[in-house]
């Protein structure tokens, strides 16, 4: 299955390219008709309707804690109440009388795992053509599309990511067919009837960009620009110039016509929308950094950054994160120089590391992927502590998504997004025992009733099975 996953996102689904209109150039962005004045600030459309589910005040005691920011507490206590982390500390931490107490003997607690690169919902399972909603591969720049409008909230993959992976939040991105693929959406990993019911409240938007092979192949094969890497950069720069003009017009105080694609790009130039940039090769990342300087925006994270290790110092100096797999390689030319020590070299150089999945299977094992990357580092003499490695899966992705003030670590006042593991999460033998999201128990390995089953799986073979 994995190769097809790779085709679907990192490597791009091929039938999709075939599906795209052959000649229709069309407008670059969809223009909405009403002319508006800048003073009338439009309300944010499709607002989150997610509300924390009811919770009971719970203390986990006698447990090993990785706090997500590099800290470790042995024999500690995590207390959560009202959906928030209330206190985190050693054995002497006060546990109020009458609260639910979970004994964590032999177990480990981490913040909820955050996957910064997922296509759950927009390339859901079953992986049928009718569900293939991740690439609007009809124009190389589609900043006007929003991934949330493709998310099928019944994707069975959300439940696996929760139960086997301890994933409590994820960024769902458009695919990588386009240079500018559209807006991403950050979700709480909680099933809902609507995508609005999953949206992480007040999470900033991201915009997906893509370097390299995919855009030039998809459009080059249609006889359109870009067909080369130089074409990729040229189309991007032309589009950023238009975005600068749009922003200027918008800020001029004069009447202007809204353009939802340009709104996204102007949001990037405003610093409100983060750039999430699919980019494998080191040389291309360096070009993108200069392009960002030219137009005055910042790249939050390079995704699939298999060659980040070659420019770890440059990435450190620019404050850009690398979202990487532990060891994927060789499936396409731009993944040829991937090495398992990528994360460790980045970390050792002082650059920001995030372990991501881009895959409905590996999202269930991000903890294991991080553990492999840690071990490969250790063998080259870079000793990275377990607590630091957990940061790659929690605080670092939260920071890169602009939600680290709300989740991503076990700090008082933050959302009680918490995983209790039945062993050290960096061991192959560990699995989530319980997962809380905003303090509500959303998965309990010991209670089949606390195991979500999507509509799709209801009445099917294996409904409600351990997965």
């Amino acid at each position: 299955m994995a190769i097809s996953n790779t085709l679907r996102s990192a490597y791009l689904v091929l039938p999709l390219a075939l599906m795209a209109c052959s000649n229709a150039e069309g407008p670059k962005t969809v223009s909405a008709t009403p002319a508006v004045k800048p003073a009338e600030k439009a309300p944010v459309p499709f607002p989150s309707t997610y509300k924390a589910y009811p919770s009971v005040a719970t203390a986990i005691r006698n447990v090993t804690i990785y706090d997500g920011e590099g800290g470790k507490i042995d024999n500690g206590v995590v207390f959560m109440t009202g959906g928030k982390i209330s206190s985190v500390g050693g054995a002497d931490t006060i546990i109020p009388a009458g609260v639910n107490v979970v004994d964590g003997k032999g177990k480990f607690v981490t913040p909820g795992i955050i996957d910064i690169h997922s296509h759950l919902g927009d390339y859901p399972t079953p992986s049928v053509e009718a569900h293939s909603d991740g690439n609007e591969a009809t124009s190389p720049t589609t900043p006007e599309v929003w991934a949330e409008h493709s998310v099928w909230p019944q994707d069975p993959g959300f439940s696996r990511a929760l139960a086997n992976g301890g994933v409590t939040a994820l960024q769902v991105l458009p695919g990588s067919a386009n240079l500018m693929g559209g807006r991403s959406v950050v979700l709480k990993n909680v099933y809902a009837r609507t995508v609005q019911g999953m949206k992480f409240p007040d999470a900033p938007y991201g915009m997906k960009m893509a370097c390299g092979e995919n855009p030039k192949r998809v459009y080059g094969s249609k006889g359109r620009m870009p067909s080369t890497r130089m074409g990729n950069i040229a189309v991007n720069r032309q589009t950023w110039i238009k975005a600068q003009e749009y922003k200027k017009r918008r800020d001029s105080g004069k009447e202007f016509t809204r353009d939802i694609g340009m709104e996204t790009l102007a949001g990037v130039l405003d610093g409100d929308i983060s750039i999430q940039n699919h980019c494998y090769r080191a040389d291309e990342m360096a070009l993108v950094l200069d392009m960002a300087k030219e137009f005055g925006y910042k790249v939050s994270t390079f995704h699939h950054a298999v060659e980040s290790y070659k420019i770890a110092d440059l990435l450190r100096d620019n404050g850009v994160c690398s979202a990487v797999w532990a060891d994927w390689w060789g499936f396409k030319m731009e993944a040829y120089d991937a090495i398992p020590e990528n994360a460790a070299i980045l970390h050792n150089t002082g650059a920001c590391v995030i372990i991501h999945s881009d895959d409905e299977n590996q999202i269930q094992r991000l903890n294991q992927e991080a553990a492999k990357a840690q071990a490969d580092g250790r063998r080259m003499g870079f000793n990275i502590s377990d607590a630091e490695v957990i940061k790659w899966l929690t605080y670092n992705p939260a920071k890169a998504l602009g939600i680290s003030n709300k989740t991503g670590s076990l700090k008082a006042g933050k959302m009680a997004d918490v995983v209790l593991w039945n062993g050290n999460p960096l061991s192959v033998y560990a699995r989530p025992d319980k997962v809380w999201i905003d303090g509500a128990l959303m998965f309990d390995a010991s209670n089949p009733k606390i195991r979500p089953v999507s509509d799709f799986e209801l009445g099917q073979p294996g409904e409600g099975d351990v997965k």
Partner: protein, 430 residues
């Protein structure tokens, strides 16, 4: 191939290893690989490329080279139950991808052996992770029969094929139907018709004018029909497996092995009763297709409990590059023992599922896959539990020959351990 065709760096990697010698590996935790418990402080004795003995009472002959394995684990090398190893360097670069010969006009006759290239980097990368043997299968083209696969060794030499034409590979289920005209009805019809044509060929009645098969294809299928060559069939869904078991009743001499088998647990008792071994994808747990609705990671354990012979393989799952995931997958199956309601394997069973069991299923268990006397000396030393994520292979021996552990990836690692350039560009740093 001659080594001098390669660059100096490649030469270093592929330099002919020293000849097989007598080696005694002492003091380690020895895993025989047959499902038995590890032996603490055991000795493994190797001579002439074969295992002489493994245990606590092994007499070490004078002159044997001794390898101290104190504090280490000593196991048979990983036997990858299903792969496309050596058939691709870069999957998406067509010139380097020999997985499918489906447009050649041939089907069952296709033989992957000459396409398996030991100089492709996945050999060295997976070798250094303790993988020593692999089942290598072709991908199907526009016929349900993909052709003949091989068993390969990962030794750093120019002869990768242990056993050519070791099996025939076929696609059933959705993929099979797609190549048989769009319906599973077509798959079954093609299957029966092609086997009949093979019989016609044997009886001298083959015309090959309007036939589905060419003469070479018929020869290959005849060997399957006679039970001389195993038939590995990719099948995921419960109904497809049941219908295949009915087909087997009509062709009782065919030795079927099912591959993938995501819904195997739903028909586990039938599989056990039919005596059909499986090479299962270990961790499929999503309804990726409608033939995998019942997929669960407990599949392997449930089938084993029902009496099915189960090995772990990686069909269509990074199967040309990432056979090093095999130990991680086995470890995950062990972890299920600690999940309420789930079914896993014990550690000993899990290691057998990636060593002796796949060898047994492929009919080479008397020669490969364990540390029992007489088996090829494929032995790996690990710095910890080989199924654990923190562990690595520290010594790899194939056919009694200690192997180099260098590869392209660790060369890049060494060049960029400190990424900032020094007095010369990185291109000079090697």
């Amino acid at each position: 191939m001659r080594h001098f065709l390669y660059t100096a760096a490649a030469l270093a990697t592929f330099a002919t290893p020293v000849a097989a010698e007598t080696i005694a590996i002492t003091g380690g935790r020895v895993v025989v690989g047959d499902g038995s418990a590890p032996i603490e402080g055991g000795t493994v004795l190797i001579r002439d490329g074969k295992i002489v003995a493994a245990g606590t009472t092994v007499v070490i002959p004078s002159g044997a080279r001794q390898i101290d394995a104190t504090g280490k684990w000593v196991t048979p090398g990983v036997f990858a139950g299903f792969s496309r190893l050596g058939l691709a360097e870069v999957d998406a670069v067509n010139g380097t991808n020999d997985k499918s010969g489906g447009r050649s006009g041939f089907s069952a006759a296709i033989d992957v052996a000459p396409a398996i290239d030991p100089f492709r980097s996945p050999f060295a990368v997976n070798r250094s992770s303790g993988v020593t043997r692999a089942v290598v299968a072709p991908e199907a083209g526009d016929n349900i029969f993909a052709g003949q696969g091989a068993i390969a060794d990962l030794g750093a030499d120019s002869n990768p094929v242990t056993k050519a034409r070791a099996f025939q590979f076929a696609e059933f289920g959705e993929e099979g139907a797609a190549s048989a005209g769009g319906s599973r009805a077509g798959t079954h019809l093609h299957f029966r018709a092609m086997l009949r044509e093979a019989q016609d060929y044997a009886a001298g009645r083959g015309t090959f004018d309007d036939d589905l098969l060419k003469a070479e294809d018929a020869k290959a299928l005849l060997s399957v029909l006679r039970g001389e060559t195993r038939l590995l069939i990719h099948v995921e869904g419960a109904n497809d497996m049941l219908r295949l078991m009915e087909l087997k009743r009509d062709f009782p001499t065919i030795k079927m092995v099912f591959v993938g088998v995501s819904e195997g647990w739903r028909v586990a008792h039938e599989l056990a009763k039919a005596g059909i071994p499986v090479i299962a994808s270990a961790l499929n747990d999503l309804p990726a297709t409608f033939e995998m609705l019942g997929a669960t990671q407990s599949n392997v354990g449930r089938m084993k409990d029902a009496g099915v012979q189960v090995a772990i393989g990686m069909i269509n799952d990074r199967d040309s590059h990432q056979l090093r995931y095999t130990t991680q997958y086995a470890g995950n199956i062990v972890s299920l023992q600690y999940v309420p309601g789930a079914t896993g394997l014990t550690w000993d069973e899990a290691f057998a599922a990636i060593s002796s069991v796949p060898a047994d299923i492929m009919g080479v268990g008397d020669r490969l896959g364990s540390l029992k006397a007489g088996r090829a000396a494929d032995v790996v030393l690990w710095d910890g539990d080989p199924l654990e994520l923190s562990s690595a292979a520290t010594t790899v021996i194939i056919d009694g020959i200690e192997q180099p552990l260098t590869n392209r990836q660790n060369r890049l690692r060494d060049r960029y351990a400190r990424p900032t350039e020094g007095d010369l560009p990185k291109a000079y740093d090697r």
